[in-house]
């Protein structure tokens, strides 16, 4: 029994990590159509922000909370810089964006190695997150609970912002029809920039949170990038609730398949499941309904 509970929680936790890494991508990939291979490096920038903040502040507990804000700003600013200097010139050229952002990712990795050195650094978890809680006989690490909550909060905040704020309405308008939105007086340029800031900022937040689980090194982002793209594709482009469901379903599948087989088999089977699913629903779980003819 406690094994089942453990594995359900592991699945939810794995899902929440995928979700956290994917939330920013839902905006930049899903809504703007930019295949941003440097998203992983924005995650890494968030992780190193957490390291720098921890070096600078005395209290480990406070540093995590400061880092979450700082990570958002650092990730967001990096995103804006890349958007303004490169991606802006490459809208409607998805293959070029893919290659350019892949290069940007490699450059950012090298910069990180030059600044922080090649070996991974250690970001300590605050004492209120160390240890575990017991639920129905299952041992649940507090760090993972924290990430689960954080992922849901980020997703809810983003959903609320899109639904209720003026910026959110403009974003959705641009997403549905760029030309129509522009002719109604919306500056799609400003919307693009803000969207990219928020999307990349969320990657930074993910990076801060992931320091609680894994290592902080120049390649940290790469290990989360593929799963993040999977979540966005399976959930449907630009669909937050699609990403939510896809992340948790994939997480649960992973944990139960892995428990009865091995991690490598689980990873491979996940890909098979997604390929089969996309055969049936190429648009993902949810898709944008428009009356457009194209």
């Amino acid at each position: 029994m406690d094994v089942v509970v453990s594995q359900v929680f592991t699945g939810l936790s794995t899902g929440s990590i995928m979700l956290l890494a994917a939330t920013g991508l839902v905006l930049t990939f899903g809504q703007m159509g930019v295949i941003n291979m440097a998203h992983g490096e924005f995650i890494m920038a968030g992780s190193y922000t957490a390291f720098v903040v921890q070096q600078a502040t005395a209290s480990v507990g406070a540093s995590l909370l400061i880092s979450l804000v700082a990570g958002f700003v650092v990730g967001g600013l990096l995103g804006v810089i890349v958007e303004v200097t490169l991606i802006r010139h490459l809208y409607h050229r998805p293959l070029d964006t893919l290659l350019v952002t892949f290069g940007v990712g490699l450059v950012l990795q090298q910069i990180a190695r030059d600044i922080f050195g090649a070996p991974a650094v250690n970001v300590r978890a605050p004492s209120w997150l160390s240890g575990s809680v017991e639920v129905l006989g299952a041992v649940i690490p507090r760090t993972r609970l924290f990430i689960l909550v954080l992922a849901l909060v980020c997703l809810a905040a983003l959903a609320a912002a899109l639904k209720y704020t003026a910026l959110g309405r403009r974003t959705r308008a641009v997403m549905q029809s760029r030309d129509l939105a522009e002719s109604s007086g919306i500056s799609s340029r400003r919307v693009d920039l803000t969207t990219f800031f928020i999307g990349s900022g969320l990657a930074g937040v993910a990076g801060v949170a992931l320091t609680l689980i894994g290592s902080t090194s120049s390649t940290v982002g790469q290990s989360y990038l593929i799963n993040a793209f999977l979540v966005v594709v399976a959930g449907g482009l630009g669909q937050l609730r699609g990403a939510l469901i896809a992340a948790f379903v994939l997480g649960l599948l992973q944990s139960f398949i892995e428990y009865s087989t091995t991690a490598s088999v689980a990873q491979a089977l996940i890909f098979v499941v997604i390929v089969l699913f996309l055969q049936v629903r190429p648009q993902g779980l949810f898709s944008l309904k428009t009356r457009s003819l194209v």
């Binding site: 090649a118 650094v121 250690n122 894994g214 428990y259 991690a263």
Partner: protein, 417 residues
């Protein structure tokens, strides 16, 4: 629209096919020409001689290899300021292997055939070594591979200054058995070294009545260990035998510790956890667990004090030294000793003179075995202390002779076929 798309795809496909074909083509040509070009082109007429280094400064294993490059450069500098080798200064040509075996092979070929270096230091993963091996054999070059690895190899053109399995894995098992461990859980990253090393562990366990409670592998770089830690916790083995490598170590130990497991209930014996990894994992997550290497920074020998001081003077007082760095550093000094013994930079002369050459390395005196090109090494089990350093808790009676094929162990008979 469909038409333009097809047009862009076709040349791309043709380009990929072309690449594959030329790769195969040049491979065949190399083999044909290999025997003929075995004559080395090393130029020893000047007052300096070229040597090469290939380590990954970019890509997945750059984290581990950059520090090894530092150690190699330190050794070369020491040799130069000490008068060089046979009166000649060393001119180090450094290449980036980019964590890609193909790049390692290309760079090795460049160093050996166009730079004409006398020896190359480097290589990290077994895949990188296997990719370079034919280059050195075909062109008559010399590689000094300074990394503990899974054994089962010997090449006339490679000297192995890292531990083979009977100098690292077998001593770790002997130690655990001596401590009364009767069951083990095996966990590792999914590639050749962990799988080979666990095959050895299983053969040893069968012969020594140790029960294997489970065996799990995760892809390289994986960070999701909660399922495996759940399995380990429910399996309740006496100890965990850990061959997880690189970044994944951080995720593994954090998960292990936050699940409430400690070294007191279930010690983890790690094959790839050095001083650098301890710093990255965070000592609070790995304290009191065990490691098996041949060298620790804390070793109290005059050679090691000199090495650590020199390294810190060069690269900063906050830097640590670890086994892979020490082995690579030792490899450079061993090459010097071999060349001086041979009185020549010629590869054939060096191979001839290698047997019995010794060097007082930071980890103790090592002696080259002329048959299998490995070196004798002292095995040491270390325990991680609160300051992040690893202290020796057990060490072998002197240096252990290298036995890359485990021919001297009865229980290992089943492994060779």
């Amino acid at each position: 629209m469909p038409r333009t798309r097809r047009r862009t795809v076709l040349p791309a496909t043709a380009a990929v096919l072309g690449l594959v074909l030329t790769a195969c083509g040049s491979r065949v040509g190399e083999d044909g020409a290999g025997a003929a070009s075995a004559e080395s082109c090393v130029d020893t007429s000047g007052d300096s001689v070229k040597v090469g280094a290939i380590n990954s400064l970019s890509g997945a294993t750059a984290i581990n290899e950059t520090v090894i490059r530092d150690a190699i450069e330190l050794a070369v500098e020491e040799i130069n300021s000490d008068g060089g080798v046979l009166g000649k200064q060393l001119d180090l040509i450094a290449e980036d292997g980019a964590s890609d075996p193909t790049v390692f092979a290309e760079k090795a070929e460049k160093l050996v055939t166009s730079d004409c270096v006398a020896a190359v230091f480097g290589g990290y993963t077994s895949a990188s070594r296997k990719a370079m091996l034919p280059v050195f054999e075909d062109n008559g070059g010399l590689l000094y591979y300074g990394q503990q690895y899974e054994g089962l190899e010997d090449s006339p053109n490679i000297f192995y200054s890292g531990a083979t399995t009977n100098q690292q894995i077998v001593p770790a098992l002997d130690y655990l058995k001596e401590q009364g461990v009767t069951s083990l859980y095996l966990v590792g990253s999914d590639y050749v070294f962990p799988r080979t090393s666990n095959a050895i562990v299983k053969a040893y366990a069968e012969a020594n009545g140790i029960e294997i409670k489970g065996e799990d592998y995760l892809p390289l770089g994986a960070t999701e260990f909660s399922t495996i830690v759940n399995k380990i916790r429910t399996a309740d083995a006496d100890a965990v035998f850990n061959v997880v490598v690189g970044d994944s170590l951080v995720a593994f130990f954090r998960e292990f510790t936050s699940a409430g497991l400690t070294a007191a209930d279930m010690p983890v014996m790690s094959m790839c956890l050095g001083e650098e990894e301890v710093a990255a994992v965070g000592v609070e997550n790995v304290q009191d667990h065990l490691a098996s290497w041949n060298y620790y920074q804390t070793l109290d020998t005059p050679e090691n004090t000199t090495f650590v001081d020199a390294f810190r003077a060069e690269y900063g007082a906050d830097r640590v030294t670890s086994d892979p760095m020490e082995s690579a550093y030792t490899g450079v000094h061993l090459w010097k000793a071999m060349v001086e013994e041979a009185g020549s930079f010629d590869v054939a002369d060096v191979q001839e003179a290698a047997d019995g050459v010794s060097y007082d390395s930071p980890g103790g005196t090592v002696v080259v075995d002329g048959d299998n090109h490995h070196i004798s090494k002292t095995a040491r089990i270390g325990q991680i202390r609160p300051d992040g350093q690893i202290f020796t808790v057990w060490e072998s009676d002197g240096a252990i002779e290298p036995d890359p094929y485990l021919t001297t162990y009865d229980w290992a008979d089943s492994l060779s076929d």
